[in-house]
């Protein structure tokens, strides 16, 4: 009897494991492909905003360009500096890549789909502290840069690493505080719950416009994107933390940046813009598979808008000076975020009385 129970438990568990493994493979390969084509999109958007044409030679409309770029990086000579700390030198890009991928685990990519008589949730792990997990993993991302830059035994790299570390730590604070205001509105830490709430009511950006603005600015800083790309400032630090890197290790660093950009776009869409909620469509009236499909399309549409915003800003705003960056982070964004938190708290208290 006990054995039979155990067997049944195991058989159910196995289905779940396969389901999750497939989901993980799909999510990881999808984010890799999206990151690959984000590099292509970046070059195209840059070209179009500057009245150029952009890559258009490899394949139709230059669509094979990212493959050619990747191939180039693979075939380049792998150089590990003699005086570097070899283990950490390799660990740096690996860690950057890994932390970039890890965040995707708690994101609800869509609602349930029904396949082979099973109801499969399109979220790898619906943990009730989703937001905290995201923050934890995102702040781990700086270790990849820090370790890589320190291990290369180069002063420019070290400067880049220092900048990255202090920048990410100081913007994390403002980001966290702006999140607290959002958490007070939603009353939950689970990303899935937040999406469900937004599906039923309004998008969170309506309740938290200031919070969203702070979060957006901090997301730019966390992704090391212009105007906050001081860690890799090409014309001051010769590439900053990846000065000594070559071949695919450099590729991993650059790739991690694009994955980070993708993931932070997804998180912003999920937290503030309703995640997989398609506006003006009532998902409950549709079949679950159809609703899931529409949800994924909606989420990807929002993500594409955010990624375009990232690129648009990159080709508009010049880089901050370092003291301006710190001034903005500590003396403007953090007080603003605190004010936003107090305001939100006050309003919630007033309406709940």
């Amino acid at each position: 009897m006990i054995l039979k129970n155990k067997m049944m438990f195991l058989s159910i568990d196995l289905g779940l494991v396969i389901e999750k493994l497939v989901l993980i493979v799909v999510v990881i390969s999808a984010s890799l492909i999206i990151a690959m084509y984000t590099t292509f999109a970046e070059r195209k958007v840059a070209a179009i905003l500057q009245d150029r044409r952009g890559p258009n030679r490899a394949g139709p409309f230059g669509l094979l360009q990212p493959l050619a770029d990747g191939l180039k990086l693979f075939f380049k000579e792998e150089i590990i500096p003699n005086l570097s700390s070899k283990f950490l030198f390799i660990l740096g890009p690996a860690l950057a890549m890994m932390t970039a991928m890890m965040t995707s685990a708690v994101i609800p990519w869509g609602d349930k789909i029904e396949l082979f008589g099973r109801s499969i949730s399109l979220q790898i792990a619906d943990i009730n502290i989703g937001v905290l997990y995201v923050f934890g993993v995102v702040s781990l991302g700086v270790y990849g840069i820090m370790i890589g830059s320190w291990a290369s035994n180069n002063k420019f790299s070290l400067l880049g690493g220092l900048r990255a570390a202090s920048q990410i730590i100081s913007y994390e604070l403002a980001m966290g505080i702006s999140m607290i205001a959002l958490l007070m509105v939603t009353g939950t830490l689970s990303l899935k719950e937040m999406v469900l709430q937004q599906q039923a009511g309004n998008w969170n950006v309506i309740y938290q416009p200031l919070g969203f603005l702070i979060f957006l600015i901090c997301a730019f800083a966390e992704c090391n994107r212009t105007p906050f790309d001081l860690p890799e400032a090409e014309n001051e630090l010769i590439g900053g933390y990846h000065t000594e890197y070559s071949s695919m290790k450099l590729g991993f660093f650059l790739f991690a940046e694009y994955i980070n950009m993708f993931i932070s776009s997804v998180i912003m869409a999920t937290l503030f813009f309703g995640g997989y909620d398609m506006p003006f469509v009532n998902e409950t009236l549709l079949s679950p598979n159809m609703a899931a499909l529409i949800g994924i399309v909606a989420l990807m549409g929002k993500v594409i808008c955010f990624i375009f915003l990232f690129m648009w800003v990159r080709w508009t705003i010049p880089r901050f000076r370092y003291d301006q960056l710190m001034h903005l982070g500590w003396r403007i964004l953090i007080p603003l975020a605190l004010f936003n938190m107090l305001l939100t708290g006050g309003v919630i208290l007033y309406f709940h009385k």
Partner: protein, 184 residues
């Protein structure tokens, strides 16, 4: 000091007001400007597919001309070599033998005709000096090469394709060059 022009402007060092210190309106304005560039016409020409038309006075690679029956015009008079400021042209003359009337238009012809393309400055004086309409500058660039000696173009490299044997190539080499009255 007295300014030479009235173009210089006094730099304003006024402290920024609140709106300016917010930065966001200025950033938004900048982003609108970059966005408007999406709809601008792109000046790029997709080169190998589409070529920019040459100006009618463009001076490119030299071509040794033939007449309509395919006879070489050049009589090796040497006027082009004399006119050449870069001294890029050398030639050797020879007398036409009986039975060669279909090859050379007149009794004297150039047995050897060389232009050093590394010396040539494409000024077009050879074309102007030529009394026989035998040399003209086409609308082609000198192609790149790996060795210096490849840039000394011999008669074979310079001669226009035969108008009877290869009429399409002949027309292509002739281009849309205005026809000069042949001088004999």
């Amino acid at each position: 000091m007295q300014a030479l022009t009235d173009k210089s402007k006094q730099v304003s060092r006024k402290p920024m007001n609140f709106m300016e210190r917010m930065y966001l309106p200025a950033i938004f304005k900048g982003m609108v400007i970059t966005f408007s560039h999406i709809f601008k016409k792109k000046p790029t020409i997709n080169y190998p597919e589409k070529k920019r038309p040459f100006s009618p006075v463009f001076r490119g690679l030299q071509i040794l001309n033939r007449d309509e029956e395919g006879r070489e015009n050049c009589t090796a008079c040497g006027l082009c070599a004399v006119a050449c400021p870069a001294e890029a042209i050398t030639m050797e003359a020879a007398e036409r033998q009986p039975g060669e009337e279909n090859l050379y238009r007149e009794e004297k012809y150039a047995a050897k005709y060389e232009i050093n393309m590394l010396r040539c400055i494409f000024c077009g004086l050879c074309e102007e000096a030529c009394p026989k309409d035998a040399i003209y500058l086409s609308e082609t660039f000198t192609p790149a090469d790996y060795q210096r000696k490849q840039f000394i173009y011999s008669k074979n490299d310079l001669l226009i394709p035969h108008p009877k044997e290869n009429p399409t190539a002949y027309q292509q080499a002739l281009g849309n060059r205005p026809k000069r009255e042949s001088v004999i």
